[in-house]
Symmetry: C4
């Protein structure tokens, strides 16, 4: 578990170099708490279930994830450091999410991914069951043009009563289904969404749900629906610079919206 007191010690005793390393990680942990609260209370991508992680900036073989509490009540004291096998670093302190392997195996397979969100989004579950592929409707959802595959854990040993990504093997299969894409639907369960930063993963999850609702609404009108398909030969969405500034703007706003509850220790 990521402990305040440990960092207090670091700040007191460490050499300038250690200090320089410690401070960014503390900021990263604080941002992870903010992401949990944004996802739960501001953009409502997470309900009482689901989780968000971020890869360490100082060690790409580590990631941060809360112990098993709901995102809407995560504090810095709940954050645990994991290795990419999803074992807690320095021994376990409290329960981890059973599905933490979803995070670890995606980080292993995708060095470009810096943050992962697992949500039980009803929109994503509906699309996963609908027989209709999710297609891009909005310029901020351009990554959907890469495809959003559907992963059915029952093909790998899951059952209707237990769909959890509860071990590294299932996590690896999910990461394989994700491939080089941004998101993968978990049939009957939810979604995993990635980003090259925490803010980008958060906004990707927001736009993914928004795109799904728009596609549902457009489709049900009975007309001939037009999709926002990427031009032949266009670069993949990760290279598009347009969203970067807007992502920062949204992050700053959403962060401010949840700052009160975090500051008040709620």
């Amino acid at each position: 578990m990521f402990s305040r007191s440990k960092f207090a010690v670091v700040l007191t005793l460490a050499a300038p170099l250690a200090l320089a390393q410690a401070l960014p990680e503390r900021a990263l942990v604080d941002d992870l708490v903010v992401a949990n609260r944004i996802l739960a209370h501001e953009i409502r991508v997470l309900d009482a279930y689901g989780h968000v992680s971020v890869r360490s900036k100082s060690n790409p073989n580590r990631y941060y994830l809360s112990r098993a509490v709901s995102a809407g009540m995560v504090t810095a004291a709940d954050i645990v450091e994991y290795d990419l096998d999803s074992n807690p670093v320095g021994g376990s302190k409290g329960d981890g999410y059973l599905e933490r392997f979803l995070h670890g195996e995606i980080y292993k397979a995708r060095p470009d991914v810096m943050a992962v969100i697992h949500a039980h989004s009803p929109e994503m579950i509906a699309f996963g069951a609908s027989g209709v592929p999710l297609r891009n409707m909005i310029h901020t959802g351009s990554f959907i043009n890469d495809g959003v595959p559907i992963f059915d854990v029952r093909k790998f040993g899951g059952t209707a009563d237990d769909m959890l990504i509860r071990n590294p093997v299932l996590g690896k299969q999910l990461a394989t289904a994700l491939g080089r894409r941004t998101a993968v639907i978990l049939f009957g369960h939810g979604v995993a969404v990635t980003g090259n930063s925490l803010a980008t993963a958060v906004s990707n999850s927001y736009f993914l749900n928004m795109n799904a609702r728009i596609q549902m609404d457009a489709t049900r009108m009975g007309g001939s629906v037009s999709y926002l398909e990427r031009e032949p030969g266009a670069k993949p969405s990760a290279a598009a610079p347009a969203g970067a500034g807007a992502n920062n703007r949204a992050w700053e706003y959403w962060k401010r919206q949840v700052a009160g509850e975090i500051g008040a220790g709620r």
Copy 2:
């Protein structure tokens, strides 16, 4: 009515054995207040109408249920102890819900049921009228694979102007329709949802509504919908251990979300 002063007396005068019995029930009553507030204000399964009860842990022939006030304003002082014929124990103090027989008769018929929720969920009423059976869409709704029957009180004497489960006979008919399942839709009225604990009944009611909305969304897309059917020979959902930890996690979060309003006496 469950009285604070009565318990004050117990705590002062009773022998340790009585004390040991009294404390769990007080905690149970407090949890029932929490469940009322969660259902009304956090997961919105109840509006101004509907109610939730819990079976006594010390006496399986008793259950606790609020007097007839809206769930969003129930306090410990409103809780009444009932026998399984839905008569208040120790005489009536204030009005009881006209439909309390729904609770009593289910407890009689189902010794495994520890909590019952009756809600006017629009999703459930819509499914009850739609001619389309509710089917399982999400791993946390696996109990839906047992079926969600539709009970029409008009076959037992109800009318379009009075659909209430207002006596033991109607309650028993409803319990018979429920059978060994987790939930039963009341045509033109709402739903009754059970659980082997208060937290499980609450999360079951949450997932039941979520499942219904997902099925609606998936069905309306015009594709070929896939359902999450239980594997042949699989154990019934009540035996599935996967949800237990997650149910506790959600309960702890939802409880925290309503703690403020309860603590402030709102």
Copy 3:
């Protein structure tokens, strides 16, 4: 305008008889403020537009209605007393709603009606345009079995750019369309809902919108929809006693929910 100071005088100087008359009307005005806030902030039947009135209990030829401000900010000081021609009693103080004739003409035509709500409910506008009749889906919407007619003001001189019930003639035509029923849809505009008490009008408006959403959801599933039709020879819904207790329960809860904002002068 209904003035606090005027009543202060009454309370100080008046004989017991005058006092007995004054107090119920003050309570009625307070209830009307509560109804405005419930409709705007708790059950969301009114947005920034629309209004609610109540007939005087001491004089059936008078009714109370706010001056032209949004329901969510109405206070007792905003309430105006009108005669049934919708002229302010004792001279005008501030602007009245242009559509107050909707209220006055319904009170004239329907001595049993004690409260009227005019809302721009999207659900009602959608049904008015859909070509599909609203039908009863829920036991608390039994009055829908009386029919919910659609009034098109353009047949009486209104235009697409001005659909307001802005004079007694249009108000009378609307009252005629309503007939002995509980509610009437205003095509392209909204709805008028009545009740034999303020609490009943409020709950009727709540259940009317809920019924509409349930019918939409049930209809779109693609199955054969069942409606909750009244039994042949059954009494009209107004005679049904079942809802009375539940209406009071809901009113007490909703009132408590908005008490804070009223008490704080918001």
Copy 4:
């Protein structure tokens, strides 16, 4: 940037004439802050993205628009004065929205327009993709009878990964697509809504989304939908006086609803 200190100086040193000019603009800037907060927090037309501007009353060749922050956190200190080429007056202070040209070019082309809103409304994106034209459903949406054209920026050089109105040429093309109408849908992106006042633009954006949801609901019921078409020879909607009072009423209410957060510096 519109600076408080600059106005403090004006108030201290300026002659009465200058003072008379300064005060209305300060009120306009304050109203623009209110509009930002209403759109973000009260009527939810804007999420973390999108913006609203108002034309200067003292100089029709100037408009006010926030620097690039989310509408829900805009304060008076964030407001920038732009010329109609969308260059900041007096030099840049902080980042401007990349899409500010959408505002400037509409003001150039439409002297009657006093306020512009750009929103990512899901309803508008859905209609833009649906192949079904938006049609008027509500009397307060009469301007929809003028038509709501769909602008596809890809015809003018945009791509699926960059749909922004990021230069004057694209802004001018958008203004041409808008023509004399009130609103234009940006395919795969959102909408631009205008008004002859800030309050009117805000209410137009509210009714546009409401109209879209009503049309969706009415269309999906399977019946024969009726639209609220303008009578042959009727004046355009801008001339209709009916809405003016109601617009003011809504503005006063919405303004009051967000006054707390602005006053508290949130």
